[in-house]
Symmetry: C2
Subunit: 137 residues, 2 copies
DNA sequence: TCTACTATATGAGTTGGTCATATAGTGCCA
DNA sequence: TGGCACTATATGACCAACTCATATAGTAGA
């Protein structure tokens, strides 16, 4: 149900993120986890903390991002009051959210390629520096 | 005075950047270009505008980043008043700046790998979805 | 003289993210 | 029964990277 060319959503700007973390890519991770199955914030947090790439993620940011997603129509939430423990707000991804995830995937692919080109340029520079200093015309 | 294995510099946070641009990676691009040869801001800007990856870069941001680099000791600048035209501030990368570039390169490699893992997880999710719906126990 | 280009620079605002902290229910156990 | 740890959600203050708009000034040519 999410094959159509992807809508007019725009990939938002990014920012922040400490070294070794996953800067600018919290959103696709959250969308992906929710695409796999509905979950509440704390659950997502635990899943994210299992991977080194997303391990250091800030709880506050996760909750805020989820609320923003809901405002944007990418997820919907309902309170789960039945099971024991504090109430949980359970998020389910919407078709719009799936579209957004696919858009993100394209964006991530592009970003990865751009990083590749940056690294190539860097390595070319390093190799030039390593070349013996011949030809002083 | 800064040769030891790369200093305690930290890769800064990132942010902003429109889709299709080079978000969070303006710094290493600038450092790389300056490592190749000294240049002034406008020159760097022109070189960046030649590549699609860095084409949309904002002049104000370039100048500000260069000034910050100088404050941090990654580059040094001198005014070039000799050649015709408006005065140019010519930047030269310092040994500290080179260390910083190498640190950035490591960081970029890491980021690229993390993107790869995100994409793998995404593709795994897509393939699972594409699998025929057998086994409804 | 007016305009366009070269060149550097700053102010305001947005966004993604961090860190600290608040709040509330629940289970346990001494 | 009081206190603590854990589950769970949430907000305020702040920072860094970036965007957009704008200012300023020298220089070149019509």
């Amino acid at each position: 149900m999410q094959q159509p060319p992807v809508t007019n959503n725009e990939i938002p700007n990014w920012c922040g993120a400490a070294p070794g973390r996953m800067p600018g890519f919290v959103q696709p991770w959250l969308l992906l986890l929710l695409a796999q199955e509905p979950a509440h914030g704390y659950q997502l947090l635990e899943r994210l903390h299992q991977y080194p790439d997303t391990g250091g993620i800030d709880p506050g940011f996760v909750y805020r991002t989820l609320r923003q997603f809901e405002q944007d129509g990418y997820v919907e939430s309902t309170w789960n009051l039945e099971e024991p423990g504090p109430a949980r707000r359970v998020y389910v991804i919407t078709p719009d959210g799936l579209n957004y995830l696919h858009l993100w995937a394209e964006h991530v692919r592009g970003a990865r390629e751009r990083l590749g080109r940056l690294l190539s340029a860097y390595e070319a520079y390093c190799n030039v520096g390593a070349v013996p200093e011949v030809a002083e015309e």
